[in-house]
Symmetry: C2
Subunit: 129 residues, 2 copies
């Protein structure tokens, strides 16, 4: 269950799900590539902007379901209690090089988050009348 | 990378992504519990009905991204080319007991599948005029 890739993945995960994006980004390579449900993002700034709403607005807490790794990759699945959904599990498969995450395939269901944003937009439109 | 749980998970995965639901269901316990994006399903018949549209209608091919396991659990992430989406990755974390999958936490993005069903319903409504 331990590997350098897994240790880095878990440190990154603890940091971002604890709301410390600066610490989390310390584990991410500058030229990281992220394949997220909405498409590919490149670079640490785009990565941070992707993660920020989850870390800072939506997340209540996470609970690790399983985490495995080998020399250069780690695969984690965790459940997340969020404002939009009581249970919003996600999986991340990260590749680590020279101690930094250079690639992440991030899988989760966008549905509850999209529905939440739609409801908020509708509420905003009603208030703005 | 090998474990009995992982071997069973991979055999199940090969079977269902190869379109052989009967073979896949041979690895599933009768009283399986499945936590899928839309909620919890219980029993092998509900499991099969959940999987059938993916296996029989939507799936073009899958490619394993990573698969790990220990004595009783396995965690897999794979990309799936589907009719609704060129890339529809998923992750499954299965618990194995007595050689059968008794629990699965199944994570994927429902968005492209829901959009596809909406488009099909609209096309059907137009044709039915």
């Amino acid at each position: 269950m331990t590997s350098s890739a897994l240790q880095i993945a878990l440190a990154y995960h603890r940091a971002w799900t604890g709301g410390d994006l600066d610490l989390a980004m310390g584990h991410i390579a500058g030229d990281v590539v992220l394949d997220a449900p909405a498409g590919r993002l490149a670079g640490i700034q785009a990565y941070r902007e992707f993660l920020a709403p989850f870390a800072e607005r939506f997340l209540v807490r996470t609970e690790m379901i399983a985490a495995f790794g080998d020399d250069d990759r780690a695969l984690m699945m965790y459940d997340a209690e969020t404002i939009p959904a009581k249970s919003a599990p996600a999986a991340e498969c990260v590749t680590v090089r020279d101690g930094k995450i250079v690639y992440n395939r991030f899988v989760f269901d966008r549905t509850p988050f999209d529905e939440f944003r739609r409801r908020q937009a509708q509420a905003g439109a009603v208030q703005g009348r």
